[in-house]
């Protein structure tokens, strides 16, 4: 573990204290000036260790701990709101970043044999399950789904299956090509996005003991253990830094952009409609393709607007970068189209250009949604008159 070098004295100099505290701190005891100094200095170390960003200049230890808790809580909340493959992807990304040698197991094309990842050279296994919580009206049915899913995973690891309610041995061929030769799992973590009921604990542990007795134990040790890990447990297990939060929240951000896009109405996209009507006049043989194109463009335009709104609300710095990127996109597309003898061929590259420009600013954080945003930006250029076409031998569409 890396050591944190401390080049400053153990206690901050008095002159560094805010004047307000210096004037009023004449008492002794827990509210004394010296006491506050100690706490403030420890707070500095805490910030370094936890990577907590403190905006205020005069934070108390309690406030810093609140901020620290906030990171963990925020990550747990984010994990809990992820479902399906997004949840599994985030859990694997998290484990990869904190567990040396964590190995993910691709589920395609041969299946994952019930194991989503392993570490410690095959001694520890990980199974993930992120049910769509909204689809369960009652906690009882959600508990049952979780128990059933993990029991099924454990049966696959232990090479068991039910034949008319009788537990019988079978072969899990894929396990032989997943775990290192001769290695057996000593512990299995079952990671789930909802763990607010103890009623999943007993059935899973009981089943695991039962399965171990019935199994040939080719890939799981006889003394192997199992543990159920919820979002809070996973968040608490290792420190949560800003990068972890950003990665997880990016997935949520994508969802919120999609949700916002659904509620957006592009008010009177008159110019866009006129251009598309003109296109239908020019190519009456392609009406279906044009209608489909219009739908796609409008959907992605709304996505682009939603992305704009979300950045503007919460990350003005990035919004400024988006604004600059838009300017670069239109300049590059215009330059290519104006200079080319085959401008329509260049228009075909518009999304590629937009994607490249946006990737430079947002690719590392919002990469997965950049295709939609790039297409949305092209739709916006058409809708806001920057790029268009006129009837052969006629006037502009606008």
């Amino acid at each position: 573990m890396a050591k944190i070098a401390r080049s400053r004295p153990a206690y901050p100099r008095r002159s560094r204290m805010p004047a307000r505290s210096a004037r009023t701190s004449t008492r002794s005891g827990p509210n004394s000036f010296a006491h506050k100094c100690i706490h403030r200095n420890r707070l500095g170390t805490l910030r370094l260790l936890a990577g907590v960003r403190i905006c205020g200049t005069d934070c108390t230890l309690f406030e810093a701990l609140s901020a620290l808790m906030s990171n963990v809580d925020a990550y747990a909340t984010t994990l809990a709101s992820l479902t399906g493959n997004a949840f599994q992807a985030e859990v694997c990304a998290r484990l990869q970043s904190v567990v040396l040698g964590f190995q993910t197991i691709p589920s395609k094309p041969h299946g994952d044999a019930g194991l989503d990842g392993f570490s410690h050279e095959g001694a520890r296994g990980y199974c993930c399950y992120g049910p769509e919580l909204k689809t369960y009206r009652q906690a009882r049915s959600l508990e049952k789904a979780i128990v059933d899913k993990f029991k099924s995973d454990l049966r696959r690891l232990l090479e068991l299956e039910f034949k008319k309610t009788i537990l019988t041995c079978c072969e899990n061929h894929e396990m032989a090509t997943i775990l290192p030769v001769g290695k057996k799992l000593m512990h299995v973590d079952l990671v789930v996005n909802w763990f607010e009921s103890h009623r999943v604990v007993g059935p899973i542990h009981t089943a695991f003991l039962e399965y171990k007795q019935s199994s040939k134990l080719r890939y799981v040790d006889a003394n192997a253990t199992v543990a159920i890990i919820g979002p809070t447990e996973l968040a608490n297990r290792w420190s949560v830094d800003e990068l972890t939060l950003v990665r997880a929240q990016q997935k949520i951000f994508y969802q919120s952009v999609q949700d916002t896009a659904k509620t957006l109405v592009i008010e009177s996209p008159k110019t866009f409609d006129e251009k598309m009507t003109l296109l239908k006049d020019i190519r009456p043989d392609q009406l279906q393709a044009i209608n489909s194109l219009v739908d796609q463009f409008l959907y992605k335009w709304r996505m682009s607007l939603a992305f704009d709104i979300k950045l503007n609300e919460t990350m003005p710095g990035l919004h400024q970068a988006l604004e600059a990127s838009r300017s670069r996109i239109v300049t590059r597309i215009a330059a290519l189209m104006l200079a080319s003898l085959a401008p329509w061929t260049e228009l075909g590259k518009a999304e590629e250009i937009a994607r490249a420009v946006l990737d430079a600013e947002f690719g590392s954080t919002y990469g997965s949604m950049m295709d939609d945003i790039a297409a949305g930006e092209v739709a916006r250029l058409i809708g806001e008159c920057s790029v268009g076409w006129s009837r052969p031998g006629g006037m502009n569409a606008n």
Binding site: I54, C55, G56, T57, C59, F62, E63, S66, A67, S70, D73, T77, L278, L279, I282, R283, Q286, I290, L293, Q296, K300, D308, N312, E313, T314, M315, P316, G317, H319, Q320, E323, R326, S327, V330, I333, A334, M337, L338, W344, T345, L347, G348, A350, E351, E352, D371, A375, V378, A379, E384, C385, S386, V387, G388, W389, S390, R391, P392, G393, N396
Partner: protein, 174 residues
């Protein structure tokens, strides 16, 4: 799979439709419009500022929040929730994280204030932003907008913000 612009390109390629490009027609976001931002600052000072001597003053941190929300009035509900939860530190942190990140990192606002200070329209005084009562630039901008009924959404948002309890704790981080 072809992209939308590739499909459009193919549809147009076989025709004699004439392309045109007007890069100048892209309208920049009003968030980066100097006059608009000056108006918002003027409105914050007029609606929420307090007259002290020869100056109309407002806390720099409060101005930062007010102008941010005035331009995004749909965030009023977030401020209300944040204000209501201010005594519960944990809930307060969770409910307002995005908003805090938003208004605290609004670099454009810093630039606007620096510009107004450099031009003598505003003064910085110990955490306060002060506008001389005698100055007519910002107040004139606000008066004209009021007279012509412009930017009422922003002004209404600032008035609504005045009704919400905003403490120094909320403004200075946590």
């Amino acid at each position: 799979m072809p992209t939308e612009s590739q499909i459009l390109s193919e549809l147009l390629a076989g025709t004699s439709a004439a392309p045109y490009v007007h890069p100048e027609r892209i309208a920049p976001s009003t968030v980066y419009d100097l006059q608009y931002r000056m108006f918002v600052v003027a409105a914050c000072l007029r609606v929420s500022g307090k007259v002290e001597g020869a100056f109309r003053k407002i806390s720099a941190n409060k101005l930062r929040l007010l102008q941010f929300v005035a331009m995004r009035p749909w965030l009023l509900d977030v401020v209300r929730e944040w204000s209501a939860s201010r005594k519960d530190r944990q809930r307060s942190l969770q409910s307002s994280q995005s908003l805090r990140r938003g208004f605290l990192s609004d670099g454009m606002h810093d630039n606007i204030i620096d510009y107004l200070v450099a031009t003598g329209c505003l003064f910085k005084q110990k955490g306060q932003i002060a506008e001389p009562i005698s100055s007519v630039i910002l107040s004139g901008l606000f008066d004209t907008s009021e007279k012509d009924g412009l930017f009422t959404t922003e002004t209404d948002a600032i008035r609504e913000l005045n009704e919400i309890v905003i403490t120094n704790d909320m403004l200075e981080g946590w």
